[in-house]
Subunit: 410 residues, 2 copies
């Protein structure tokens, strides 16, 4: 870990990546609503996509690109309209958008990924998209500021932009990995959440990069939930152009492990940031299940806790109503013996045990409320049944979640 | 159907059943919080219980009773405390409660079911429970009014009491079937919801009654959801004492079918009532999926729609944001082709198609809002992929749901 250090920036932190943003008026006027990332040097790519059967047109477009062995050069993203449930017209919009970028920058159309996020079941205004693409191509720039503005341009109901970058050494060469993500509602990833685009100058074989991505996503983006709704548009893409000059990683050696560690660091940061910025959220709600029989079970249990509406409402109300957390574990599908379970509430204020081996403990309600009033509240569950552990991240359920979503389209 | 008619009352509608209610001060003062139902004539019983691994002590107690071949005589229910996650002390409380009723009424202790609902992880005040039981035994009475008051006494966050009864003829004898139920939050049954107790004077073989119950529950109580949280306490029990004098049903003949139809009528009524009285709910939200490949798939799809937080928030906001409904179908686990799907919003105001064969339709937003402002909003989904259908019931997600649950224990 000590080898991996945080650096400034996001998608433009790594060598050779440019970004741009613009106001294209896709759905609203006077609002940044398009972003572009581009590498002139061809990139290998890896990605994971929503498991929702109803996949947005752009997700289907991107899956083809990431699965092919052809190089990737960039991605263009719009907010406002998700281009999901849009039939053939939706696919044509993807082709037109990627096509405009391809024409302008002189790269193949199938080297350009397309991301959309917003209302489902509405057609994109293709003329405005293409005007936006042309504008973006003109503005491409490798400054950190442009990277940050790109991450701001892809926000929808997000209240903070989400970007992060790290650097690490491989054989004396400095490698940079950074990225941006967006997502606040319809977040219950069964792959990853909403849109995340990472860039790196590392040199690595495509198949190995995909393996690392799949493994890391499973422990980061796939472990967060805001509202139990798995989006039609979830997209995670990592592009790497090799400009760091490290010896290309071609096996699971020490350098591969360092890269995976760095990827875990960036993804974990962005995933937690996304959970804590869940629609209407006032705090980050973490569940850690340990001493479980298997990692799979620990994951199911921790996800069930942070996904429960009643647990989330209790977190909002700073109410140590631990029965709801046990209840959520109970219906998760994992079989366990409650008489072996211990449950703790934890935050920077302190730790409080509330349940021990099948029996509720008496506790100081005032102290419990104090612990739960912190910005991050952690539920620790000791299963006493094995050695596996997992962590999941969510947020509290608030009036504002309802407010935001009762009238999202208007 | 024409043979089955609605009659007044609930648990005391059938011959030979008495009920009572009292204020025992279990958790709050001056509030009806205990109810009892009793039949001097021994009853056969059938039931279904929560699939949550964390089962309340009373659920475990009742499962033993319903599974045994011994007759059942009654049930005593308290609100305020759920007697879940309470270890051995919780089991002892069940035995003490049933024991007090058994002593007082001269029936075996294992003929008495016990129901509890309320906060999880808190011990019951056994002394007050027993005083309550003694009081209830003194007050037992077969009036319809006592039945209604029993159904009021088991309410927690419920805003309306839920009881219903029907009569039908079997071989010239009038048979009555009635019951009560409660439940408003932590409702996402994987068996049935919270507590429902039905009584009948029908004569029927225990195993056949259980078969009918299992079948009917799957299409009624198991098809509702308020918040996705499957409770630790879900209990459904049907008691039948045979006093109607019909020839005992011992095979799946015409009379069995009539009984099943009547059971379906009562359970469907109570289930819908429960969904529309979900915590904070302002309306009933029904999803009907038809022309599906199998009933199982139709059930999964319709349940996924009414369980989605985003769909529920859209229903609250009267927003015909149909993409959220398709999205919920997409992550349900059922594989389907969105280009075959049609989607309609429907209420007593009218019907509006919004999606046809993979393509969104233009529609009049004002008319859509009018349709969705009704007390029951129905989403009709035509899969064009088979002949199976299913219906699921939920409610909208409102500020009040959050309010009720952020501070439930205080």
């Amino acid at each position: 870990m000590s080898n991996i250090k945080t650096v400034e920036g996001g998608v433009t932190a790594a060598k050779g990546f440019k970004a741009a943003y613009t106001e294209a008026g896709i759905k609203y006027e006077n609002r940044k609503d398009m972003a572009m990332v581009f590498s002139e040097t061809p990139c290998v790519s890896a990605g994971t996509f929503t498991s929702n059967v109803v996949k947005a047109a752009c997700v289907q477009w991107d899956m083809k690109i990431v699965k092919s062995d052809k190089p990737m050069h960039g991605m263009v993203i719009n907010t406002g309209i998700a281009n999901a449930c849009t039939g053939k017209e939706g696919f044509d919009a993807c082709e037109a958008t990627a096509g405009a970028m391809s024409d302008k920058l002189g790269v193949p159309v199938d080297s350009i990924a397309v991301g959309s996020t917003g209302v489902i079941g509405m057609q994109l205004p293709v003329d405005r998209l293409i005007m936006g693409v042309n504008d973006l191509c003109d503005k491409l720039d490798s400054s950190l500021e442009n990277g940050t503005n790109a991450s701001i341009a892809i926000m929808t109901t997000d209240t903070v932009n989400k970007e992060y970058a790290v650097q690490f050494e491989l054989d004396g060469k400095t490698v940079t990995l950074g990225g941006m993500s967006k997502g606040s509602g319809m977040i219950h990833p069964n792959m990853c959440t909403m849109i995340a685009l990472l860039t790196s100058d590392i040199a690595i074989e495509k198949s190995l990069m995909q393996e690392a991505v799949s493994e890391v996503i499973a422990d980061t983006f796939n472990m967060i939930s805001v509202d139990g709704d798995t989006s039609t548009n979830d997209t995670f893409i990592l592009m790497a152009n090799g400009l760091a000059g490290n010896e290309k990683i071609t096996s699971k050696d020490k350098n591969y492990e360092i890269f995976k560690e760095a990827l875990m660091t960036v993804c974990r940061y962005l995933a937690r940031k996304m959970a804590s910025d869940g629609e209407g959220a006032t705090k980050l709600f973490t569940a850690r299940v340990y001493n479980a029989r298997s990692k799979e079970e620990a994951k199911i249990l921790s996800r069930s806790i942070i996904s429960s509406s009643l647990s989330k409402a209790a977190i909002y109300g700073c109410d140590a109503n631990f029965g709801r957390f046990l209840c959520a574990m109970g219906y998760s599908g994992v079989d366990f013996d409650q008489t072996k379970v211990e449950l703790f509430f934890r935050s920077s204020v302190g730790t409080l045990q509330v349940f021990k081996m099948g029996v509720p403990l008496e506790f100081d309600e005032e102290y419990a409320t104090k612990i739960m009033s912190d910005k991050e509240v952690i539920v620790d569950v000791d299963m006493h049944d094995g050695e596996a552990e997992a962590e999941a991240w969510g947020c509290d359920l608030t009036y504002d979640y309802v407010k935001i979503n009762a009238d999202y389209r208007s």
